[in-house]
Symmetry: C2
Subunit: 135 residues, 2 copies
Amino acid sequence: MLKIGELASLAGVSRDTLRFYEKHGLIIPNQRTESGYRLYSNIDVERISFIVSAKEVGFTLNEIHQLLELEVTKDKKSCQDVKEFVDNKITIVNQRLLEIEKIKHSLQTLSDACCGGDEPATQCTILGALNEQAR
Amino acid sequence: MLKIGELASLAGVSRDTLRFYEKHGLIIPNQRTESGYRLYSNIDVERISFIVSAKEVGFTLNEIHQLLELEVTKDKKSCQDVKEFVDNKITIVNQRLLEIEKIKHSLQTLSDACCGGDEPATQCTILGALNEQAR
DNA sequence: ATAAACCTTGGAGTATAGTCTAGAGTCAAG
DNA sequence: CTTGACTCTAGACTATACTCCAAGGTTTAT
Ligand SMILES: [Zn+2]
Ligand SMILES: [Zn+2]
Ligand SMILES: [Zn+2]
Ligand SMILES: [Zn+2]
């Protein structure tokens, strides 16, 4: 049984983060001491590894919540369910990627058109384009 | 002279958005009526076009604030200053792009390893990987 | 016995970009 | 002269993922 600080340092997150995750239903300590201290088990260390690596892979806490539910009920879920979940996320990430690429190209076009010289920016094509564009 | 609702519909933003922009120093009406109504000029329509298109190109309101300052003082600023600003933004966007690509590849690897079959997910490589990975 | 270290709760603050609401005042038309 | 459309302010609320703080209770070490 681990107290919150022990779990925190084992898992490499802050005590506040653990309480935050608890408030959002991601890890709930299975016991409390008489005085109200949270008590965690070793399984919770793994649970946090799971959260941390899922975060690194780009899942939001909300999605991780759903993933954890898949984890817990994995005998009732199929590989198909899990893969579908990940593939949906890939679709979302792809959309975000396209958006950002579009932004990058717009900025690049803007930059390329500007001479970048020393003269006053009164005729700067960048400022000009931002003024016109929205027509 | 335009009242807030008129400017809003001309510019295609909400009245609330205009007041929000004002609070953040992006557009400040040059006059008020006796009764306190904001009065905008036609120049403000262009100013909002500027904001809207800068937003579309991926600038944050904060950055647009700085861009507007470049705009206003453009006789004191050079093309170089403006281009530098845009190029810095391109660098940031590029970093974000790389991050998201990394996430995409991680997810793809995860997905590819899973059979996606009908059997219970007890042995699912995705769930497995998320449990291990963080070591 | 007492101080340090740790724990508890609730709530506020951070950044982003607004939206929505309430309660009140203003303006034009019928 | 009243109704409806419009405006004002201040403040709350949205989502995301925490972090920090205050004020108090508990444990551990010396
Ligand atoms: Zn130039
Ligand atoms: Zn230029
Ligand atoms: Zn499988
Ligand atoms: Zn699988």
